[in-house]
Amino acid sequence: MLARVANNLFWMGRYIERSEHIARFLNVNYFSSLDAPTTESQSRQRVLRSSLFMTNTVTTSVDHLLDEQEVLFNIALNIDEPYSIINAVRNARENANSARDVLSTEFYEALNKFYHAVLRYDPNHFKVKGLFEFTTLVTESTAILREKIRGTLFHDEVYAIIMLGISVERAIQVSHIIQTKYTDALESTPNDELFERSYEWITLLKCIESHDMMRRFYKKTPDSSNVLEFLVLHPDCPRSIMNSINRLNKHILSLSMEKLPSKNSTAYLVGKTQAHMAYLSIETIEEDIQGHLTQIRETLYTIASSIEKEYFLYN
């Protein structure tokens, strides 16, 4: 496969995954705040600040009064904001266009339909009553796309590259979401005990579509400890960071021509990260939650740029 096309496929995977996480975060965060138990958790301003932080990693000062319609529009449909969903979808399709010959007709048609649906979505309708509808359109369409990737593409290097993009982006987005909700929990609760049992942990689980399964697994009320353990470390939670890193490892090994990855290869880096994560305990993470999440994300960025260097370099 061409190095340039591989680059396009990797980023297509990343952008598809990114659009989904932003949409779901926006949806869950907004709607679960409506009947949240505390005034802090209900605060619309905090929801907007948190949404901006998650998508843009920009911290907005508490004194700065945000305009709801403007913020929601910027995140969802503003073509001039690089972090918007519409731009993620546009970039996904642009990258798919450059790799169109290696993609299945079925997948491309699904992506193209999704792109046109987002492009045609009326911003005025969105601002007033389209938030739920639009974010659902995005999360459902991306689910279809993932199935078309899994079910209509040949599971060769093309598939491996797309899955690398999806997995690395998922791990990055999930760590972003955890960090955002961790900050929300800190801000909305005055003491440690309340922090541990904050409503924000439930919202966090829902933002990552893992609430029901977490309940089933722990049979306990979600708290900081079991939620973080589930979302960071549990290999069977399909959206946990551990799960994404396992997938990264699987797909990088299928790409790598080396049986024993050499020290400066991506496969080696991913393997090392996987081993480190596999033996990481929640107790260790809890000693410095912020620090660990930041470190995990930095490792993921290093992995992404190592993939680019090793496989995508051309001219």
Binding site: M1, L2, A3, V5, A6, E109, L313, Y314, N315
Partner: protein, 487 residues
């Protein structure tokens, strides 16, 4: 069965000056269309409106579109697809197929001659000025032997049916003829929309084009190569024919590359894959001659590959079509086609040529200047239907203007009698019914080493505007599925 019998044909006005593909002069349906007409008559006006909409959104969703460059933004447009197929019976097709193959082979001989001994010029059949003054003549090709001996691997031949009911060739396109992907899309779309009609006719498939193209590319591999690595090169996703480039690569299962994916080292071509360099042997290039290699041609081209031509000249890579073929699909060379066919193949031309007046010849120039209202004036080297003046559509002032332009550079123009393109029933959205519209036919012929193939079907292009004779997609044309019937 008569044209007046069904509401979907209520707006169908017959004109005796044009050949009608479907109806006899008395309004009765021609034999070959009878079953189709019967099936279509079973549908209501509303059925066709909804089928038409479904077909349109299907093309749009599949991204079978081309880009139109406006002042401010790039718009994505579908190439309009018509619901009424064109049917060509087996004996008529036989004639066309033999004719286009004959032309393609003759052109291949002509190209070899032009870039080698120039016998046809020495023998006084084709004037030397036509070659020397042609912008598409590449001196770099002199003396080169293309692998497998083929120059015009792919030819798109444009035909029309005149009011006398005979086919005439309007143009041979042997640089980068496009449109074949629409032939396949049209068939797919018609099958989805009106699958029942295929029960009534035994039609040849059109989906075997890509397979044949790949096989033919493999026959012209460079010498000493066992398993050639074939690729398609495209200018990129913003090119108006990008869909076609990606379709062909996908259908052949080969890589679609851009210039930046390739490089040349020691006169060999490589592509940059995820596992390092990979040798490339045969390139179906959808980039014009002038852009393929900045070291040999346009130095500022970023679309091509530096050193590609030198690799080609050394015989290490095959370019499909060969560089320099444009010298033979020039509109001035067209007028010598009957002589060219006789000269190389010792055969009578199977298909008719339209009589052509050369403005470069003083006596013919005089005739042209005095009879502009009866002629179509064409620039010799423009593609896409641009720069054409149709004499009987011009005002007096415009005629004077055209005269001046021709007189200023006569070599640049030819003139032909106004040919009347035949008409075919075409679904018109505005009237929600079928109306007669002008059509032409582009056929696709591929030549390889000891192998050739003519796609059984072709692109029937239709001018959607009433009375318009220009069928090009860039000027608002659509297309029809084209059936070649099995005998």
């Amino acid at each position: 069965m008569n044209v007046s019998e069904h509401p979907i044909f209520s707006c169908y006005q017959q004109h005796s000056e044009f050949f009608d593909e479907i109806f006899e002069e008395d309004g009765n349906v021609k034999e070959v269309y009878k079953k189709l007409f019967e099936i279509y008559s079973g549908h209501t006006v509303e059925d066709f409106a909804s089928l038409n909409n479904n077909a349109k959104s299907s093309f749009f969703n599949q991204g079978i579109t081309f880009q139109v460059y406006g002042d401010q933004e790039i718009k994505e447009k579908i190439f309009p697809f018509d619901l009424f197929p064109r049917i060509i019976d087996s004996s008529e097709w036989d004639h066309i197929e033999k004719g286009v193959l004959q032309r393609s082979k003759a052109l291949n001989h002509f190209l070899h001659d032009v870039y080698h001994d120039k016998k046809i010029i020495k023998d006084g059949i084709v004037p030397i000025e036509l070659i020397n003054s042609s912008a598409n003549y590449l001196s770099q090709m002199n003396g080169l032997e293309p692998p497998g001996g083929i120059y015009n691997h792919i030819s798109g031949t444009d035909l029309i049916k005149h009011s006398d009911g005979k086919y005439y060739v309007l143009e041979d396109n042997i640089r980068c003829p496009s449109g074949v992907s629409y032939v396949i899309c049209n068939r797919t779309a018609l099958k989805k929309a009106l699958f029942g009609v295929f029960d009534a006719y035994k039609t040849f498939t059109v989906t075997d084009y890509a397979q044949n193209l790949l096989e033919i590319m493999q026959t012209v591999k460079p010498e000493g190569v066992d398993q050639p690595n074939c690729v398609v090169i495209t200018p990129g996703i913003y090119n108006s024919a990008y869909y076609e480039h990606s379709y062909l690569a996908k259908a052949m299962g080969v890589e679609l590359v851009e210039g930046r994916d390739l490089y040349v080292e020691k006169d060999k071509v490589y592509m940059q894959s995820i596992n390092g360099a990979q040798r490339v042997h045969v390139i179906y290039r959808r980039i014009d001659d002038q852009f393929i290699d900045p070291m040999e041609f346009k130095p500022d081209s970023t679309l091509g590959v530096p050193g590609l031509f030198s690799a080609y000249a050394k015989g290490n890579v095959t370019l499909v079509n060969a560089p320099g073929t444009g010298v033979a699909d020039d509109k001035a060379i067209y007028t010598y086609m009957p002589d060219i066919i006789k000269y190389y193949l010792n055969e009578e031309p199977i298909l008719n040529n339209v009589h052509t007046y050369h403005c470069s010849r003083p006596d013919e120039l005089k005739y042209v200047l005095n009879n502009i209202d009866k002629l179509v004036i064409k620039p010799v080297d423009e593609a896409g239907g641009y720069g054409i003046s149709i004499g009987n559509r011009l005002t007096k002032d415009e005629i004077e203007e055209v005269k001046k332009t021709i007189a200023a550079s006569p070599r640049k123009y030819i003139a032909q009698p106004i040919m009347s393109l035949s008409v075919h029933a075409t679904y018109i959205e505005e009237s929600n019914s079928f109306e007669p519209r002008h059509v032409d036919l582009r056929t696709y012929t591929i030549l390889g080493k000891d192998k050739d193939f003519v796609l059984k079907g072709g692109l029937t292009r239709v001018a959607l505007q009433k009375g318009n004779l220009i069928v090009n997609s860039s000027q608002g044309g659509g297309s029809k599925d084209t059936w070649v019937l099995k005998s």
